[in-house]
Amino acid sequence: MTITNDLNLPTEEELSVQEINLSGPVLKAASFHLGRACLHENNEFMLCRDELGDPRACIEEGKAVTNCALNFFRTVKKTCADEFMQYANCIDKSSPNQQYTPCRKTQAVFDKCAKDDMGIERLPFDYYARVQVHKTARPKPDAEGPAVYPDATPYLPESAEKPPAKYGSRYLFMW
């Protein structure tokens, strides 16, 4: 292993939160409304993850994402449990890869319930595949400047004299 003792790793307790204990089809069925309900947390987490490129730096944001999703599913359970389970069941069993197309009817029922009872409207079908514009208070990380080598050859000074070539230059047609 290349993980040395100098590397700061968070402890087990810091990383332990209640996880979402749901299977893929259920998540796929909930995805559009979940994405809408947790849009800010998701974008914040993905921005952090993308900017810093280090899983250790974005643990708090990740916990916020999981917490938000947990709350979302609790709300679903409270308000639209039947409609949602029918939709998830349809997604699960209608196709081998959890297609949305065969389940438009159950989807419409769940959409209506989500809109009326939970106040979450379904976003356009390609919303999460678009570029997301996210307004955040997160400070921008310092951009890594160009590498500086102490033993690099110094440039010619600005004031250096640059006379025309003494014997002309080679001129060929192509290069």
Partner: protein, 152 residues
């Protein structure tokens, strides 16, 4: 002699002569003219192309929707994966320390104190290679994950 023998009857044309030899070309009945055929071909191709376009658009739209759905739950999955990954890294490190505690001069994550990466910051997390990540597990676990393409 031949004169007395019954005269052989010569084959003669039938009464009224032979029928005229049928050499006239009888072309098949034409339903469409050439221009109509070409026009029909072009028309059908155009119609089929339009249907193909509609189908393509529908499939493309479905693909985008599936991708969009995946992207919507991706942060959730990534957050969970990150936490489990970091936990496992710590477990691996502890396991190595436990395993190599009797070896003199061994430092965890290095080869007798010689690190793998020398010029990078010590606190920079560089993902270990897969074999290193799975080194303390039974080989079956590694196979199950590494060759998931072949299993599925």
């Amino acid at each position: 002699m031949a004169t007395s023998a019954s005269a052989k009857k010569q084959d003669m044309p039938p009464e009224g002569g032979y029928k005229p030899i049928s050499y006239k070309r009888i072309p098949a009945k034409t339903y469409f003219s050439g221009w109509a055929l070409i026009g029909g071909y072009l028309g059908m191709t155009a119609a089929a192309g339009f249907l193909y376009y509609l189908n393509c658009k529908r499939l493309h739209r479905n693909e985008i929707e599936m991708r969009s759905g995946r992207f919507a739950i991706f942060p959730l999955l990534l957050a969970e994966r990150d936490r489990e990954y970091l936990k496992q890294l710590r477990r691996n490190r502890d396991e190595e320390a436990e395993l190599m505690k009797n070896v003199e001069g061994w430092e965890v994550g290095t080869y007798y104190g010689e690190p793998l990466y020398k010029t990078v910051d010590k606190d920079k997390l560089i993902d270990p290679m897969m074999q290193g990540y799975y080194v303390h597990t039974p080989w079956k676990e590694f196979n199950r994950r590494a060759f998931i393409r072949q299993w599925s």
